[in-house]
Subunit: 455 residues, 2 copies
């Protein structure tokens, strides 16, 4: 970023801090601006950091990468951080405290101790869920009422809680029985049409009680299943309950957006041998190290498959055209396998296929691979014949490509299905595993056939 | 799927059709069940298709792949199809009619003629937008009012429209001036707290008018920018306006979910040389053909880079270890480049980087690649030295890996940045282009250095 851009960034932030901006800046925007400043001029950056108000500080802090969050922790007092956290909803509160804890455990403890009892309880509860449980994504702030309350009383409470800044982004009233077990949910668009002086129980009985059955996720349920439910039924929000059915919280559409986006990034990165969390860091070291681990594994498997070539050193020495053609067989196998692998991984993720559909998926993928194997085997057979003026060489490469591409389709499907069956993320490591197979099979079938037929 | 599963599917569908199911089936579920039936027993499948009621038929039809939608068109009367379409919201109506048109233009025309004037106008309007414009994703059904209306009158209209089944999934009231220009928006959670007898204009003036400024997308704006706006500000819904600011429609959270999910799938598929639309089809032919096109391009580029090996045929003939090690250099370059490429493509998509950040991104990516090039060059140098008992061979592979991995990082970054700059989707074709570079550079640097140093 050049100096003009930096001046523009400072101007925008100045206007924002004076509340003179026509359009509100999002927390994400502010975080981006701060990032740009930091790399340009550390002092200016720190001064802007200090000027951020507590009503936005927490939201901005969540958007910052680890190295910048560290600056926040070092430069801003614990009291101000506590105030900033109190402004956040329970799920964001828990996340931010966790990020802080990863950097400075003592500071996190101090901030936690500064929170009020209710927030502390929420943080402990939400923090107790693992990353893949739905409970980890819920917020405890929601609009709920007992079934034997009057609608008007519930609305009065909504008014109080909204005025106190405790509730936002409400689209449903969740209704519980006296044991706090979730029974019904009414969207606000219908609630607004009802008689406020009636009891909720009565309103629901007068309409179709079934219609008001809530969509709910168990707190320990895999978040992926919860997101699938939200998508399938086009929900704006979903309730979260414990195993007894007691209402604990809700997950809203914006959290679902973020989850879908982040999961997609994770999958794309994993397929390419990248770690999504390491890549978010601005320092080269973490990302470089995570990438090196996968490159090491790839080096090891590449040596493994290349050692197959060593078996045929005499064959190659006596016929060098084999060395020229050999990478083509491997490359085409790798690409065909990657196509099958990618489709299978993605369809598993989207829930379009499961392990029990293995037979059908295999039939489809291997079918396509065999057809393409025959087509490209034939094409490459003719090309090689003409290139090196030897018909038998064409036959050898044609046969080995049919074998390699067909098996590539097979392994490209079987590897992710098997990983999924073993409860391993099918996107992690499957590409390296696949190319080990396609390289080895490619080299072995091509050089083996050449030794047998040509020499 | 085996016979037991099919019986289970039939049982579920029977219960559903009798409305005896405890939990509602989603349109997606029904579509999946029909798909399973079709492959098992065509007649049973057709009979269930015929029994679907018009209130769900349209939603199910949207979820079906082309081959099954064809059955719907052939087996269900135009009148019933018209009824089914009238049940859909305008965006789904437009989509389904487009799908039908792709299969049978005459049938689509007949159905269109059967729709009422208002629906016809919506379909024409929404159908006029291209796939990447926000207008193509909006629905025209929304809850709106003039600023000089009383809140109570607006709510009465909401009641009527809801009773007529014309509106669902409402979270905002959009307020326009007398020229229908969008001025304000009030979330229902606040609306419910206001005095119904007051005029909207008055209510807004009594509170903070700025607070009720709406988030809106221009109808011709790129849908990606609109989705980014929704994500940045955690919106449930966004208004769509024309260039004059006139309110045209809204895009809801569930459409945003679908868009994020489908874009991610498209990107993952494109990176692997797959076409997402062709893959959705159940027939092998379309998917196979789309994949073959990319394999053809890959074959062509693989021949190109392999022909470099041909230049060094004498070098290889006199030293066969080169043929063994050569694929390792290419493979490590390909993987390093793919890491840089994937990160760059994804960060471009997420809006984290733009072309103007090229210098910063290049510094980071090439930096990581050089470090990993040095590490793996050293490792592979020592391995080769020990493997073939020749120190100079180790030196050759070390140097060529440093060159290849560094350049792989460079091209992995430059290719997507350049494609993006040229307004070409950086995920399409970039992987093939990259491996052409990494293979060619790998072969040339390794064999060239070997010829120069070893022979």
């Amino acid at each position: 970023m050049n100096t003009d851009d930096i001046e523009e960034v400072q101007k925008v932030l100045d206007l924002y801090l004076k509340q003179d901006l026509e359009n509100e800046l999002s927390a994400y925007d502010i975080a981006q601006h701060l990032k740009a400043l930091k790399y340009h001029d550390e002092d200016t950056y720190t001064s802007y950091l200090a000027r951020l108000k507590t009503d936005v500080l927490g939201d901005v802090a969540i958007e910052l990468p680890e190295s910048l969050l560290k600056d926040v922790i070092e430069n801003i007092s614990t009291d101000k951080m506590v105030e900033a956290l109190e402004e956040l909803e329970s799920d964001d509160q828990t996340d931010l405290l966790q990020y802080i804890k990863d950097i400075d455990e003592d500071k996190a403890k101090e901030i936690f101790d500064g929170l009020d009892k209710e927030d502390q309880a929420d943080v402990l509860r939400l923090g107790s869920y693992s990353d893949d449980e739905s409970g980890a994504y819920m917020q405890t702030e929601l609009f709920w009422a007992y079934a034997d309350e009057k609608l008007g009383d519930a609305v009065t409470r909504l008014r109080e809680q909204k005025n106190a800044g405790e509730l936002e982004n409400i689209s449903q009233l969740f209704i519980v029985n006296n044991d706090k077990i979730l029974k019904y949910t009414i969207p606000l668009e219908e609630l607004i049409l009802f008689d406020f002086s009636k009891k909720l129980q009565q309103i629901i009985q007068e309409h179709e009680p079934d219609y008001y059955s809530p969509y709910a996720a168990l707190d320990t349920q895999d978040i992926k299943d919860t997101v699938a439910l939200v998508q399938e039924y086009d929900l704006n929000v979903i309730a979260v309950v414990d195993s007894k059915g007691i209402l604990l919280g809700r997950i809203t559409a914006d959290d679902i957006h973020d989850f879908i986006q982040e999961s997609a990034t994770e999958q794309i990165y994993n397929l390419a041998g990248l770690n999504d969390e390491a890549e978010e860091e601005d320092t080269l070291a973490k990302a470089g190290k995570a990438r090196a681990i996968w490159l090491f594994i790839n080096l090891f498997t590449a040596i493994l498959s290349s050692s197959i070539i060593g078996i045929f050193d005499e064959t190659i020495a006596s016929y060098v055209a084999l060395a020229v053609l050999m990478p083509i067989v491997a490359s085409m196998g790798g690409n065909t396998g990657t196509q099958a692998l990618t489709v299978t991984v993605r369809r598993l993720t989207l829930g379009e296929i499961e392990f029990k559909d293995a037979k059908y998926v295999l039939k489809r993928e291997v079918g396509i691979s065999i057809i393409n194997g025959i087509i490209f085997g034939a094409v490459m057979g003719i090309v090689s014949w003409l290139w090196f003026d030897k018909a038998l060489l064409g036959l050898v490469i044609a046969c080995s490509m049919i074998v390699n591409l067909s098996l590539a389709g097979f392994f490209g499907t079987v590897i992710p299905l098997t990983l999924k069956r073993l409860n391993i993320d099918p996107a992690v490591g499957s590409a390296v595993l696949l190319t080990t197979f396609t390289d080895s099979i490619g080299f072995f079938s091509f050089l083996g056939l050449a030794k047998w037929i040509l020499i």
